[in-house]
């Protein structure tokens, strides 16, 4: 199914989810290649993944140094042309530092690293990343981060909500999302958002770690299934 899809996984110094992303794509038949952060062009690609990890040790601020890696100019250029960009965890942090997504990821509310499964509600399934899910579907994915407390000013928040760009929200197992349910304190319980054009998704949870039953579930596959369906439907380019 994913045979025709061409994906690149960017490797920053201290990316640590790069292999996991490539492997998860592989289980769906999507061939992916690694791109070193010092490279300045990524040719012939439908999807660019900025993987999880601690690029540059998370020193200074998460994503702050990676954002200036040579490869990021190309990522910005590709985002402009409509290439799908998926930022997972540290990838999300880099995307906000690079200005491809609004807001910022702050230190978790309780200051502790959080490594556990969370429940998420699919708020918008009309995106290239979520069309395989039902709207309102509740999924379970792992999180593993110290800085996942999404923050944006009220005006920006209203805009995100108004434009349907809040794609995933933390919730309870039954799908209810009482205010403050986000374990990290994220504003509006935001777990994932898309950019203005809908082709850039940043999310804190790790879909690539939940793509096989033996890993505890397959709820993460939907993200990649969506991308394949999106490509097949010829919707690329927005």
């Amino acid at each position: 199914m994913g045979k025709n899809m061409r994906a690149a996984v960017v490797v920053f110094p201290d990316s640590n989810g790069d292999r996991d992303a490539k492997r998860a794509l592989g289980t769906l038949g999507i061939g992916a290649r690694f791109v070193w952060h010092k490279e300045s062009s990524i040719e012939d690609v439908d999807l660019i993944v900025l993987p999880g990890g601690f690029s540059f040790g998370d020193y200074l601020r998460t994503g702050a140094i990676a954002r200036y890696s040579p490869v990021m100019r190309e990522v910005v250029r590709q985002a402009g042309r409509g290439t799908r960009i998926l930022g997972i965890c540290n990838g999300f942090q880099i995307l906000t530092e690079a200005g491809l997504l609004p807001g910022v990821l702050l230190r978790n509310r309780d200051l502790l690293f959080l490594g556990r499964d969370v429940w998420l509600r699919v708020e918008n399934n009309a995106t290239p990343f979520t069309n395989a899910y039902a709207k309102g579907q509740v999924i379970r994915l792992p999180i593993a981060h110290g800085d996942g407390n999404y923050f944006i000013d009220d005006e920006g928040y209203k805009r995100l909500e108004g434009e349907g760009r809040i794609v995933l929200r933390y919730c309870l197992p039954d799908g209810m999302a009482p205010n403050g349910v986000a374990p990290n304190g994220a504003k509006g319980d935001i777990a994932g958002i898309v950019g203005e054009k809908g082709n850039v998704l940043g999310l804190m949870p790790h879909p690539e770690r939940m793509t096989e039953p033996i890993l505890g579930g397959c709820d993460g596959r939907g993200i990649f299934d969506s991308l394949i369906a999106d490509l097949l439907s010829g919707a690329a380019g927005c």
């Binding site: 540059f56 040790g57 020193y59 200074l60 140094i65 200036y68 890696s69 040579p70």
Partner: protein, 99 residues
């Protein structure tokens, strides 16, 4: 109003850094980044050392009028020794100003 009831306010800034001989991985990584890929178009190769520390700002309110910046500083130094810094690897400076 009796003078003893008059209260003053201070602001104290405690800057905590690794002692110079201790490895500062964060400073070293930032230094390498500044040297290897420039932030935008700015390049500043003369940067020879980068250290990263913490600034802790404390506001002291309602202390007796008799207190001066010096006595406030003494107290804060005790706190800095016990909790704000680990003297085994960190050193600190305290700056107190009346508000």
């Amino acid at each position: 109003m009796a003078e003893s009831e008059f209260k003053t306010k201070f602001r104290a800034k405690v800057t905590v850094m690794f002692r110079k001989s201790i490895l500062d991985p964060q400073g070293a990584a930032v230094e390498r980044a500044l040297k290897s890929h420039t932030a935008g178009d700015i390049s500043f190769p003369e940067i020879s050392s980068v250290r990263v520390g913490k600034v802790i700002e404390l506001t002291i309110d309602g202390i007796d009028a008799g207190a001066d910046a010096g006595s406030v500083e003494e107290k804060i130094k005790i706190l800095a020794d016990r909790i704000l810094a680990n003297p085994v690897m960190e050193e600190y400076t305290v700056a107190v100003e009346p508000l």
